[in-house]
């Protein structure tokens, strides 16, 4: 038995651009007439020039039990690749083979019908996702229990809250038992709680024996956590493939837009601007130190009462602030002069991941939270033990000491 789960050879997908998605009869007629009369200089030729290759020369192999992250910028061809692998659309060139039963979760709750009850929708959604009716039946109680909507299972889904709907849908999806799971990050929309649940479930699935995962995401943290291998797509071509970490590093290096650790001449409002806002490094090791520098400018007299740094995690939750109030700040009433604040954060305790940094400013003419100004990555510190996955480690790492005495 082959231990290759997915083998892709010279895969390509071409789209026509500029052309109406589903043709109308008139343009088709003129196409036919042109073909019949041998007139090749008509609209046909113009069409071929508008081709667009969403994917080209894609070659890779995924072994059984591997979790592979597909990364790349928007429009790099990630979703097209998933659509081809999950057979939603067919490739223009090349071939691929898949050994094993595939389930693709490109969106939870596909095919839910509002008029049907929760019970009926479980059967409907389960069979749409490729389960047999008896498989759904066997897992029915488990699915219902996991979703937590037992009481409303015979109520039409249209009366459900959106949260209940999502829980029910995810619960069905979570109980599929495919050998190969194809997941798009759209799965990870929803509230923070739901995202965590999805990522947690995937992490669990990926650790099970023999389960192959293809995962598309912008969330490097999730990719690093779940996947062992990575494929970096750029403009429809494979730019890099290798281990997950190598691929991510390559991606971050290539894509300069990802580096957000400095900002210059950023207009906060009509009076105030941020002349400079920088962090000394984009990648910070856990418990490492980092320098910051803020330079504020105001065109008119504008006394500042407070400034604070705001830290947000990937779920847009504020997890920490640094209070930069100072009596000297009070004395400055900027009128063309600059306010320069610089400092160092010692021993940054955030768990690995991407954090966005904002500023809170309170002054006469400029007040408010200015979020998403910078981004930093916290990367894992070297340690003797393999760290637990990020999703079980909470928000901050506590510095601690302990001893185990085996003689007592």
């Amino acid at each position: 038995m082959s231990d290759i789960a997915i083998r892709v050879e010279n895969l390509g997908k071409r789209y026509q651009i500029g052309q109406a998605k589903s043709g109308d009869l008139r343009s088709s007629f003129s196409g036919w007439i042109n073909r019949l009369t041998g007139n090749r200089n008509g609209p046909l030729e113009a069409q071929t020039e508008k081709e667009f290759w969403a994917l080209r020369d894609i070659n890779f192999e995924i072994r059984r039990g591997e979790a592979v992250g597909i990364i790349g910028r928007n429009g790099a061809g990630k979703s097209t690749l998933l659509k081809i692998l999950s057979r939603i659309t067919e490739p223009t060139t090349g071939r691929y083979e898949i050994n094993g039963r595939v389930s693709s979760l490109l969106e939870v709750g596909t095919g839910f019908h509002p008029e049907l009850s929760g019970r009926e929708n479980i059967y409907l959604n389960g069979t749409i996702l490729g389960m047999k009716r008896r498989e759904v039946k066997a897992k029915f109680d488990e699915i219902v229990a996991f979703s937590g909507v037992e009481k409303f299972i015979d109520t039409p889904v249209k009366h459900y809250s959106s949260g209940m709907k999502v829980r029910l849908a995810f619960s069905v999806a979570a109980h599929l038992e495919p050998e190969i799971l194809i997941i798009d990050e759209v799965l990870a929309v929803g509230d923070a709680e739901f995202q965590r649940k999805c990522l947690g479930k995937m992490d669990e699935v990926s650790r099970e024996e023999g389960r192959t995962i293809v995962f598309v995401s912008h969330n490097m943290n999730a990719v690093q956590n779940i996947c062992s291998k990575g494929v970096f797509l750029h403009n429809g071509l494979i730019e890099y493939k290798g281990t997950a970490l190598e691929t991510i590093t390559n991606y971050l290096k290539k894509d300069s837009n990802i580096s957000y650790n400095n900002k210059f001449n950023y207009q906060l409002n009509e009076y105030c601007s941020l002349n400079k806002f920088t962090f000394s490094d984009e990648n910070v090791e856990l418990f490492g130190n980092i320098l910051f520098n803020i330079v504020l400018e105001s065109k008119v007299i504008n006394p500042i009462s407070s400034v604070a740094l705001l830290f947000y995690n990937q779920y847009q939750e504020r997890i920490a602030i640094i209070d930069l109030r100072d009596s000297r700040l009070h004395k400055i009433t900027t009128d063309g002069s600059l306010v320069n604040i610089s400092g160092e954060i010692e021993s940054v305790p955030f768990v690995e991941g991407e954090y966005s940094i904002g500023l809170y400013i309170a002054s006469n003419l400029c007040v408010g939270n200015f979020t998403d100004l910078l981004k930093i990555h916290i990367v894992g510190a070297k340690s003797s033990m393999a760290p637990y996955p990020v999703n079980v480690r909470g928000i901050v790492e506590l510095k601690s000491k302990f001893e185990v005495d085996d003689k007592a």
Binding site: K83, T89, T110, L124, T127
Partner: protein
Amino acid sequence: MQRTVVDAGKGKLSLNLRELLHYRDLFWVLAYRDLRVRYAQTFLGLFWAFIQPAATLLIFTVVFGMAVQVDTGGIPYPVFAIAGMSAWAYFAFVLNQSGNSIIGAQEMVKKIYFPRLVIPLSKAVVGFVDFVVALLFMAVLMLIYGVTPSVNIVYLPFFILLTIISALAVGIWLSALTIRYRDFQHVVPFLVQFGLYATPIAYPAKTIIASLPEWAVVLYYLNPMAGVVEGFRWSVLGVDALSVYSYISFGLIALLFVSALFYFRKVERVMADIV
């Protein structure tokens, strides 16, 4: 271990019928969904499946039975008409439903793989419930008017099957064509209305054969349901033996059905991209 191979250069002509069988559960579940949803929150429920043919029958009886006095070969007009109408109503239903069926299911089509043929096929099952109601209605009318079924009734299952195949043939063609050319959304209602009169439902087929020139009769039987309705009535009531022309219809059904499967397969390849 399930093995899937997709090759852009090959398999253009394979219909993948085995895979279709694999997805039969989905097919039943979709049909069940449509049935449930159709009569959800209606007061009369399945009774609507009876009201529609009954209303048309009433009009036909007044216009063609009483006013025009069509020659039915001694059969009470309501029985004569319903024998043709039950098959036609099913055909019309499947046409109406399957034409828009893929567009209606586009959320699924864009997100999940399954043989797309399941969608129009499930519509044929949904319509079959109404078909059965109409057949029962016919049986009741025959009882009321004291019409005994002819011995030809042993052929009825064959003509029921032929009705289904002919509805599917046209339905599958339309569902694939509508994806490509939305113009067909406007064509279908027109086809159904036109077909109601271009099919021997309200009148016997022999009137057409007797009064039209031969080329027009051939044209008339290019309507697949012309032969089917004629055969349907022959098997139930025993009047008007099948004309030779009806074999034009039967041949056309076979041709349409096979070509529909292949054309659908061709469109299926790009369905998610153009829907």
